[in-house]
């Protein structure tokens, strides 16, 4: 007579010894295993934002990790928390990953205190990306508000590295104050070397500011937008993209050529914790990149 249940020990399964591959969503893997990274460089951008260069230490994991513009990773600061952060570097850069992070809470505050050489973890990449291939042969308009420039750097690098595949490329960038402008050191290169038209604007000028002041929508007056062959990516606070997208809509740009990246609270990045749900949609797996139509279609999105 035997009634004993045999233990089915998952710990003995082969995937326990393999690095997880987050690009293969359907296989069982150690979903909470992080790739250990070293912070190899820290660039102070503003009082609130820093750019971190992260190198995945394990060569196999470094090999596995690849992402597309628009995707994000979960950044783990052991002991303090895990946060979703958009990858802000070129997808061609297989050496290190750039993350532009604002100091805004428990985990990010800790991270801002971290020194070069510190070790953190990442999982990912997660989420949808911008349809870069589909945009080829068209004008590309990138519109960013505040920290929104961080996720736009990945598509911008993509375009710059394949500059002749795209037609006119413009970046419209607005912040509240001049000192909040990110990546100012790269503007000249973008404009002169990469032939990107860059227009900036601030809501409130200080005494040194010589550029434009006003809301980002005012920049539209300075460029010509051809609704028939322009793709737009908008990234910034919800109020901003509501106005911007409405404007673009009135210019006649089809909704499925406008892309936004949504931000919601996230704890897993894998469509499980539901914190990022908008209606029936997970921002982490069905997004964060959505075309404007999908966003309008989500009752709660904006």
């Amino acid at each position: 007579m035997n009634y004993r249940l045999l233990k089915q020990d998952i710990n003995l399964k082969p995937f326990m010894t393999m690095p997880p591959q987050f690009n293969r969503k359907t296989i069982v893997m150690r979903t909470d295993k992080v790739y250990k990274c070293e912070i190899i460089n820290i660039v102070e951008l503003t009082g609130l934002e820093k750019l971190f260069h992260l190198k995945i230490l394990d060569p196999v994991e470094r090999e596995i990790f690849s992402f597309r513009p628009g995707q994000f990773i979960m950044l783990e600061v052991p002991g303090f928390g895990e946060v979703p952060i958009s990858v802000s570097s070129s997808s061609n850069n297989r050496e290190f990953i750039e993350l532009c992070i604002r100091k805004s809470g428990r985990t990010t505050n800790m991270l801002h205190r971290a020194k070069k050489g510190a070790k953190v973890g990442i999982r990912g990449p997660f989420g949808t990306s911008f349809p870069m291939e589909e945009m080829a042969g068209n004008n590309v308009l990138l519109i960013a508000g505040g920290l929104g420039l961080a996720p736009l750097r990945a598509p911008l690098y993509w375009v710059i590295e394949r500059r002749d595949e795209y037609r006119d490329v413009a970046v419209l960038y607005g912040t509240k104050e001049p000192e909040q402008m990110l990546f100012t050191y790269q503007y000249e290169e973008w404009e002169k070397v990469n032939h990107v038209k860059l227009l900036t604007i601030v809501e409130k000028a200080d005494k040194d500011w010589k550029g434009r002041t006003g809301l980002i929508t005012e920049l539209f007056e300075e460029i010509n937008i051809d609704p028939d062959n322009t793709y737009v990516i908008v990234c910034g606070p919800p109020v901003m993209f509501k106005f911007v997208c409405n404007h673009l809509d009135s210019l006649g740009i089809p909704m499925n050529r406008m892309f936004v990246s949504l931000e919601r609270r996230m704890h897993c990045g894998m469509g499980k914790c539901c914190r990022c749900m908008v209606g029936s949609t997970f921002t982490c797996v069905d997004g964060p990149v959505f075309d404007y139509w999908s966003v309008l279609n989500l009752q709660e999105a904006i």
């Binding site: 303090f80 809470g105 800790m110 971290a114």
Partner: protein, 252 residues
Amino acid sequence: MKYLGIETEKVRIGVFDFTGCEGCELQLANKEGTLVSFLDLLEVVNFREISSERGDNYDVALVEGAISRDNEIERLKQIREKAKVLVAIGSCACFGGVNYLKNRFSMENVVNEVYGEHKVETRRVQSIGEVVKVDLEIPGCPVSKEEVERIVVDLVTGADIKFPKYPVCIECRQKLNTCVFDLGKICLGPITRAGCGAVCPSSKVGCLGCRGPAEDANYDSFRQIALDHGFTAPRIEEKLKFFNALGAALQK
């Protein structure tokens, strides 16, 4: 610990008590299993109840008890001046606690009742925050040692300190308790900030709200529910006022 390139430092603390039962201070010496590690995070420069050392070079002052005498105000102000961070620990310090029940009466009346002819100086009870600026409040009657440990670790590592925003019910249901209302008793769990591990309902008695309100607590609905369960208005008020912790609920 050196981590992220940041060296952690012991927190220099002073522990001070005012009008209260010193139960919260005692909590600091509880949870024996991790007490040695806990003490290792601290440099105790002033803690009268357990130590004869008395220093003034503390960074963090843990202040227990409410204020109910003139000389306490003086002493508290001195502590405030010396401390970089002043932490109110326990419901007495945070809200006035049960001591607030004294404020229902005039002070002469109270002195007469207990000391008769003999004159004793006393004043209306105030919370620490009513007298000086408080940097951090750790509520609870008594405080939960787990929570204090967590906060001390945050202080040592320099991390932001967070409290649950949700009510006690969630912890209570996670313990698979039978809701105290089903047992015919009243419970303030639905409007009280969690973090205690639902100690009271886990012992089948109602929560009394010692940790103050949960964020966005629904007082109106709660009152209605309590009335619907057959509790009288004065009975509900008595519970709500017990620790003087549920500020907004008492305005009514």
